[in-house]
């Protein structure tokens, strides 16, 4: 496990050194990747749209993008599991790249995080690879994302297979998108502040999942639901923005909801509400209220783990509560990614991600 | 001059018990001559043990004058007192304190040895006191009376000039006490020792030359008529 942490740490060290300046380690500068001006990379802007299935693939003209799965699963006897799998692509130089054959390049770096969570138990593994060797990559058609022996494979149009093996856990899951992908923000351009800047962002809000999870010596047959994000940009945050809080929620009545808050000089809110039939609506700041109501003293400081989410127009008054325990994913760019349970006007489950906290 | 073994004038001694200062002896005076046996009686808690501890140098008086064998207590150092206790003053206790890890005969030999006496008539002493058969037993294997007699043997083995006794028959039954007492006094008379005996036992007190009462911190001659 240690070697993986080391390689991950080193890669994240890299994330903060894109412009090749100062070699310092501070948490502050670890966000330069997200905040620096594009410098040769293409930037997401209002008016851009998402085209599928091409945009499931990689975007070498952009600096940073990810393929992000979060899932809430249950075993037959009611045990709960949270699964996260993310593949990041980090461009060092803007593409497209002239070298078509595999070779030793330093154009981009791939990074993957895999996590398996249970109440009060969090397992994490990471992988890192340079681009251009074939060790990691994404193909749009048929959809395939891989790094080393981790693989998210679009076996057919509506079945994806995810295989992940780590030192102390592994999973093999079958994911079936039940609803068509939704565009977040304005037709896929998701602003992250009122002053411009943002990303192209679309999601598969509801994947029906089935498969096997192995943790320690135990094997479980599991099933549940998941949310898949696809996002790319070259500058996510403005210099004054510290981080964000994001959640993807699946409600009992068949609706799905994604909301986030970017914390900065002025907080920025946005969200997407997906109804049971798959139609989606963007929520702007006036349409919902998101507030942290309880903090937890975690290993890296106090974090808001219980939230109040009110969407009056949708008759939603929810309390979103994190599972007990610590769900920090390690690295220089430490972030929280943990499952949540929903109560209040509706019940349900989901995931909470928080970045920019802690010391 | 050598006749006066103890000369005490106006002795005071008090204890601190937490915050209180309890005055035990107040203005106590006493004179004891060689060959004299003096009994001290008094209610319990009146300071009899304290008196004995003052006289053998285990405790210093707060004020007053004390002369032992003609020497003033202020001149005597700890080591001087220790030497006195080793060679000239014998103290007897109620429970006949003997060294529990030595046999009776070794106890006797030990006392004599401490006093620097090369020869000692330990066996004769034990014989005289009627406990010759206990010579190789340990103190906890003896009865109360045997223990007291063994303590006597130890005391006499060091050939003291002064004996201080704290309730020597206190833990003995009547019959045993009757048997031990004469041995005690015979030895005192024989060797012309001075003896100060603290006791409850009126019969024992009667055998002494003088009876003093320790009351309110000082010694007065005991008046049997005033006994209350």
């Amino acid at each position: 496990m240690n070697k993986k942490k080391n390689s991950l740490g080193r890669l994240l060290l890299l994330l903060m050194l894109l412009t090749g300046c100062a070699k310092d380690d501070s948490h502050e500068s670890s966000f330069t990747a997200l905040r620096d001006p594009p410098a040769g990379f293409k930037q997401a802007a209002p008016g851009m749209t998402v085209r599928l299935p091409q945009d499931m693939g990689a975007h070498p003209q952009y600096r940073l993008e990810w393929w992000y799965l979060t899932a809430n699963l249950h075993s037959a006897d009611g045990q709960q599991f949270g699964v996260q799998w993310t593949l990041f692509r980090n461009g060092l130089h803007p593409g497209p790249f002239k070298e078509k054959e595999p070779g030793w390049q330093r154009n981009e770096v791939w990074l993957a995080h895999a996590a398996l969570s249970r109440p009060d138990d969090h397992h994490f593994a990471g992988r890192g690879a340079r681009g251009g060797t074939g060790q990691a990559g994404v193909a749009a058609q048929p959809f395939k994302a891989w790094i080393d022996d981790w693989q998210l494979d679009g076996v057919s149009a509506d079945i994806w297979k995810l295989v992940v093996k780590a030192e102390d856990f592994s999973y093999r899951l079958q994911l079936r998108p039940q609803l068509p992908p939704v565009m977040n923000g304005e037709q896929g351009f998701s602003a992250k502040s009122s002053g411009g800047g943002g990303s192209m962002y679309f999601s598969y809000p509801y994947l029906a999942i089935e498969g096997e999870v192995e943790v320690g010596d135990e094997k479980f047959e599991v099933s549940g639901q998941g949310w898949f994000d696809r996002e790319w940009s070259s500058q996510y945050l403005n210099p004054d923005q510290k981080g964000w809080d994001w959640m993807a929620l699946h409600l009992q009545d068949g609706r799905h909801l994604m909301v986030f808050r970017v914390r900065g000089a002025e907080d920025f809110y946005s969200g997407t509400l997906v109804s049971a039939d798959g139609s989606a609506r963007t929520l702007d700041a006036q349409e919902f209220q998101l507030q942290p109501i309880e903090y937890r003293d975690s290993r890296f400081g106090e974090v808001p783990v219980v939230w109040r989410l009110k969407v009056p127009s949708a008759q939603l008054d929810l309390e979103v509560r994190s599972w007990p325990g610590d769900y920090w994913n390690p690295g220089t760019l430490r972030y929280w990614e943990g499952p949540v349970s929903i109560s209040g006007s509706h019940t349900g489950e989901g995931y909470l991600e928080m970045t920019g906290y802690g010391s | 001059m050598n006749d006066v073994l103890i000369q005490a004038r106006d002795l005071n001694r008090s204890y601190h018990n937490g915050r209180e200062q309890i005055s035990v002896l107040r203005g106590l005076s006493l004179e004891l001559r060689r060959g004299e046996a003096v009994a001290v009686i008094g209610p319990s808690g009146s300071g009899k043990s304290t008196l004995l501890n003052l006289l053998n140098g285990l405790l210093p008086p707060d004020s007053g004058e004390l002369r032992i064998f003609g020497r003033a207590h202020s001149e005597l150092t700890d080591n001087d007192w220790a030497e006195l206790r080793r060679t000239r003053i014998a103290t007897l206790f109620q429970d006949g304190n003997l060294i529990p890890t030595l046999t009776v005969s070794r106890n006797v030999a030990f006392r004599a040895g401490l006093a620097g006496l090369q020869q000692h008539n330990g066996e004769a002493l034990l014989q005289h006191l009627g406990i010759a058969d206990t010579a190789h037993r340990y103190p906890d294997q003896l009865s109360g009376g045997q223990r007291q007699r063994a303590a006597l043997a130890c005391a006499f083995a060091m050939q003291p000039e002064l004996i201080l006794a704290d309730e020597p028959t206190g833990s003995l039954d009547y019959a045993t006490a009757q048997r031990v007492a004469p041995l005690f006094f015979d030895a005192i008379r024989e060797r012309a020792l001075g003896a100060l005996i603290v006791t409850h036992n009126p019969e024992l007190a009667q055998r002494c030359d003088r009876i003093l009462e320790l009351r309110e911190g000082a010694l007065r001659p005991w008046d049997s008529a005033q006994s209350s």
Binding site: R10, L17 | G113
Partner: protein, 807 residues
Amino acid sequence: MGLGTVFLSHYRRHPGQLAGLLLILVCAAMLWSGVRSLTGSAENAVAKSRAALEPLLTVERVDGRPLTVEDFARLRRAGLCASPRLEVRFATDTPDVIGLDPLSAACLRQYSAQDRQGEDSGAAVAKKLIAALDRPLLLGGAADLSRWQRLALPGTEDFEFEQLDGLPRGQLFADISVAAELASTGRSKLAILLPASALQKSVLPAGYRTQVEDYGVEPSPLVNAFLLSLDALGALALLVAALLVRSVYRFALEQRRRSLVILVRLGVQPGKLRLALIVEVLLVALIGGSLGLWLGERLASAMADGFQGTLSSLFSVDTLAKSSPSTETWLGMVLILVLIVGWACLDLLLQRRDQWGAADSGVGTGRIATRKWRIVVALFLVAASLLVLLSSSTLSLIFAATMGCLIGVGMLLPELLNALLARAERHCQQPLLEWSCSEMRALCRLLSLPLTALAFAIATAIGVQAMVTGFESTFARWLDQRLQGDLYLDPGEVVATEEWKGRLRQLPGVTAVLPMLRGRALLELSQTTESPADELPVDVLAVDPASPLLQDWPFLSAVASPWTELPTRGVLINEQLARRKSLAVGDQIRFRLGAELQSREVIGIYADYGRPEGELMLPLALVPDSLPNRYSTFVLGVDDLDKIPWREWPEQYPWMAGSRLRDQAGLKRAANAAFIRTFQMTKMLNGLTLALAGTALALMGLVIFRLRQGSYTLLHVYGVPRKRLRRRLIAHSMLVTGLLALLATPLGVFLGWVLVARVNPAAFGWALPLHLYPGFWLQVWLVCLLIGAFVGLLVGNPVRLETLKNE
């Protein structure tokens, strides 16, 4: 006002007793958890050092084609932790550029096989490269950098250079993409490396095979032996801890005897009393035990941390066991508690009604009878255990017998002390001396359990010190034996030994060449043999007996000059073979080398740590070319390793193409560094055991001396001055602990002997040397005297007039 209040009232009146009780429990628990934690750390350190020494493999294609990027990707996608290395060579006298992929370099724990300085320069390289991933950076020594810059290759104008010390000469490191760019201007070769352990987790895909790139050093058997002994030490510590706790409880009960007796007289049922006592025991044990457990872990990690700064370690900070007590430690603690409660309860349960009132008789007749019986039992136990120990080779029996010996000796020690003091007492002329002896006897009797615990701690300290030092020197010698000379050369194929020897000797800078020819032979076991069952396959090692590189060969027994006898008449065998076939120097053995049958006399037996196989050592001349599995390697002595371009030899000399060379000294250094930490930790264990046993003894001693004040006061009344009594008390205390240390030393030597000469051979087939270290004993004795003096000083004034009032 219930029973509970009465119980508690005792502690209210004597709060010091409760504190003392808890403190001793804390000490015992600290000892146990500290030992467990340190043992765990040592095991971790060993695991890490194993990894540091493990072999490194290169992957090759079955079809022999050179490796490419796709091969790397294929291996990674198969789940193997592989890392590429692209070597680019330029004109001679220009340093090579080694391209690494820092993203996967972490796979190779033993990153740089050329890690000469022992620093983790490998990690530093990877770290710098990843920080500079987007630009071309070359790392290396100053001289190499300037030489390379002089080349001034086209397209390298924007290269950056950084000096990094500790890197091997003649090599510059860069990101693999940078090396790939340079590949066109020089000769390049791609290698893909794997740690050997990776193949245990995943399977190599078809079309590939592996080769050993670096043999590493396989210390497993030695390491396992060491760990086994560590576990034994842990068990001993547990015993010491249990003894301490038991003594405390026995003692505490004695203190309470008076109030308990009164309670019985008042009519409280003894059964209820027992129950209340048991509950009290459990409560105090749980509190003291938990606190001690936590403290022990803190102490152990603090001790382990203290060494981090002084050692240049190969391990990262995270790997040291700083975690909260493991389940096993908790279980162990529970076990102790259960044992203690059971033991204490046994006392209580066995106490009959009439005994509740009995005063504690010091030296009664009844006790004498019990004592005699105990001595007999103890002697019998020791004798029987010794017998088993000397005759058996089953590991479990050996452990049981050792335990039996310890218990027997533990029972005998207080008696021995008593007997010695009684003897002294009888022969004393001076009365005070006699009294002193009797006092010390009383002391020993009252403190018999904690003294026994201290004795065990002393014995453990001495035994473990002997074992660890034995291991250290053995390990050093084993490394010497395995890593002789300066360079090790593996030709990669079967070669003509003599021819190569001649050629190697002529290489510049080479001062000595020792060929080591290995093969297999068959040892004949009986005179009339035809069937294969009577033959034992053994390894053969053939050397040149005249070589100066054959120093430090550890002989267990040998004739006068074995190396000169070897060419003419004798054969040397290793310890494993000698043990297995009960051979000794002077025996005649017959063996088959290929088709030839030889008969030779055994002229020496050498220690061969860590291998299960039997081995024969023969002179080179004797070995026929047709020896099965014949393979030669060479050990070279050179004059200055730094100045010789030995790395380039396989390229320079065509006859050496395909050979592998290894720097012996550097590997030896790395292996040593890895194990130093392990040994250090074991020594810490020792210190911990001794310190805590001493503390517990001191605590109890304090209380016991309080009890004995009556005795000293009596003597004061008899006329011994206070100061003299004080000095005597200190002397008593020092004498008792000092005497104990002296008596416990042979026990320690015995333990050490058991560990190296019985446990090891039973478990692994080879014995370690037993060395005596009187210097260490002196230290231990001194410590014991100091403990005694400390306790004596702490007691202060031994005279208390109040003790005269009651007997």
